[in-house]
Symmetry: D2
Subunit: 214 residues, 4 copies
Amino acid sequence: MEKRMLLTGFDAFGGESINPALEVVTRIQGSMDTGIGVINVRSLEIPTIFGQAIEKIHSVMREWQPHIVICVGQAGGRYQMTPERVAININDANIPDNDGQQPIDMTIVENGPAAYFSTLPLKKIVCELRSIGIPAAVSNSAGTFVCNHLFYGLMHIIATEYPKVKGGFIHIPYLPSQVIDRALPSMSLDDMTRAMHSVIKTCVNDLVIQEHTC
Amino acid sequence: MEKRMLLTGFDAFGGESINPALEVVTRIQGSMDTGIGVINVRSLEIPTIFGQAIEKIHSVMREWQPHIVICVGQAGGRYQMTPERVAININDANIPDNDGQQPIDMTIVENGPAAYFSTLPLKKIVCELRSIGIPAAVSNSAGTFVCNHLFYGLMHIIATEYPKVKGGFIHIPYLPSQVIDRALPSMSLDDMTRAMHSVIKTCVNDLVIQEHTC
Amino acid sequence: MEKRMLLTGFDAFGGESINPALEVVTRIQGSMDTGIGVINVRSLEIPTIFGQAIEKIHSVMREWQPHIVICVGQAGGRYQMTPERVAININDANIPDNDGQQPIDMTIVENGPAAYFSTLPLKKIVCELRSIGIPAAVSNSAGTFVCNHLFYGLMHIIATEYPKVKGGFIHIPYLPSQVIDRALPSMSLDDMTRAMHSVIKTCVNDLVIQEHTC
Amino acid sequence: MEKRMLLTGFDAFGGESINPALEVVTRIQGSMDTGIGVINVRSLEIPTIFGQAIEKIHSVMREWQPHIVICVGQAGGRYQMTPERVAININDANIPDNDGQQPIDMTIVENGPAAYFSTLPLKKIVCELRSIGIPAAVSNSAGTFVCNHLFYGLMHIIATEYPKVKGGFIHIPYLPSQVIDRALPSMSLDDMTRAMHSVIKTCVNDLVIQEHTC
């Protein structure tokens, strides 16, 4: 049976004119054969806005019923593709979101658990990325801005409504064009797109193998 | 009249299995039309060895009589394409070269000047690179290893034998595959190759325009 | 009533010969008047060993019944005093601990919550440190080595046995002497000791004020 | 015979309210016994202004006839005490100086040599600093702002007027108070002052030993 994967990317924020996450996910659409399974990927733009980000992903999950959800976000200053290990129940913004909101030390879900762990195969993702020449590492913090907010929201939706769905978040570096005159790390759009194809394949195959062994 | 450009790249050193400089320059060969002039580019591998590096470039310059010489080297840890401003008259190695030599605080050319400035159009190079989305900046130090050694040697050869030739050095970042498990900056081979085409074009056009205005 | 504060620091690990955390906490002992309250500080060395670290802090907490527990650890590469926001339920070691153990992706407390938040006044701590000229910031990840392990263990002990006790973790930079030939950030022992005095005062006063207002 | 050392530090620039260089040099004044020789140190504030900086040091050198001149400047972002190896004949400012001047690619001394090397014992300075626990390294670029400008001006004055005088430049990190909310390296005033005493001692003893062996 064909699996469905929802792949999300934020719009630009924080003074940037583009968001590498959106650039990458909009390049990946439709059916892919991963060798073990077939996956139908749907890309979704998410507003960098507290609240609305979670509402949008929730609405599309309800309608489309994906088996896997991977959210992608920009982590300016990072060197590597970094799948996130954990989402924490807090909004604490250093800058305003795209709607001017800047929550400080607020919980995302009242009485929700302090954190959720990603259910993506983090170490396999990193291992596969490195094997194709892409710098990668597991990250232990998705921050406390809209990225972590969406990640936590996603995992809470999964935990409370769709416990069989696999979900997680991947932070990616700046594009070279965002740092032409700054000494900051970047990764090319081609490499990040190639990397996301690898991530998708790893996640799908992991899911298929799990189902066959259970 | 067609111009000749010698483009050099070092072999791997310091425990690395490849050198991005060599990867890039070997991808660029033969005639290119820059819009203003035509340039014939010859790529040359240089050993990362004090002494032999200069001897090799000297020998090919004598034989082929290039109008422009650009040496390219790896600067692990840099974020940008960095044309070097100045070569200094010193060898001071932190690690052995590929022949086991590790000179400490030795002059390159006895009684040579303390330094030579690059005669490439540094600011134009940086400006053009940024205009095509490539991170770039002028660097004020080529270090004191074989890179600076070759750069100084080149400029000394030019100053004493070929005063009309333009010469300089460009340091480039690691390739992604060199830093798959390290939090260090890198640039893709495609972007660096595209960048070097821009550098070549900028240098050739600068030379042609200078000749027409003199 | 005099309050009791337990202040812990790890022994050296990872090839270092000293641990700044231990250097700092052993300089702070005995009674301090914070202006609002009086605090009796007891310093405790903790082995950088999974399991034993938690056992040791547990045993001293049972015996001495502190009102506040602050654990201090070295975060090599950090620039600032960084109170940690959250401890996560995972051991995932890049290097062996001081007993040769290197757990990979293991939970700390089976069926424990995914994370615990610090109950120290993080923002006040940072604000007070900056007001006395000390670089400081809240950190969102204590890593997945023995530091996070002890932090999680502490918060689990508090949650399950001593719910009124306040607890948390502070990561501190290298000492200058640890990085004499490395381009890595450091902070002087005097500044870090001064900083810890400020942290203690902030935490005690916060506790006293909370008690008076409840 | 007592030696005279001129020690200079710039005033604050680039939006900073203090300059660590000035803070350090004003703490060091008068006679010091180095064990081998006796040195009389005079501290001098230098304006961060192209032209005036060199004029001021020139004027005091003429009047006071120092045997050694060490200029100190802030290098924001550096981790270590960094004696500079070489001054280059160029002004190329990224920001305006304290008089609003921002020269681009201008020579400092027309027809002056491309560069001057420091005549301070760089490696001994670094070695002694590390031996007392201070992070230190030789730097190969003093930049192209007023620091390099003064350094080049000093070495040109020495080369053309006082060939027996020893001279050089040392870049020092930010003070902690300058980076309280920035992830940038710093060094405490106490450590930098202790470091400068070590530098002075190393330079004086090197001069005395040279004189005795010649």
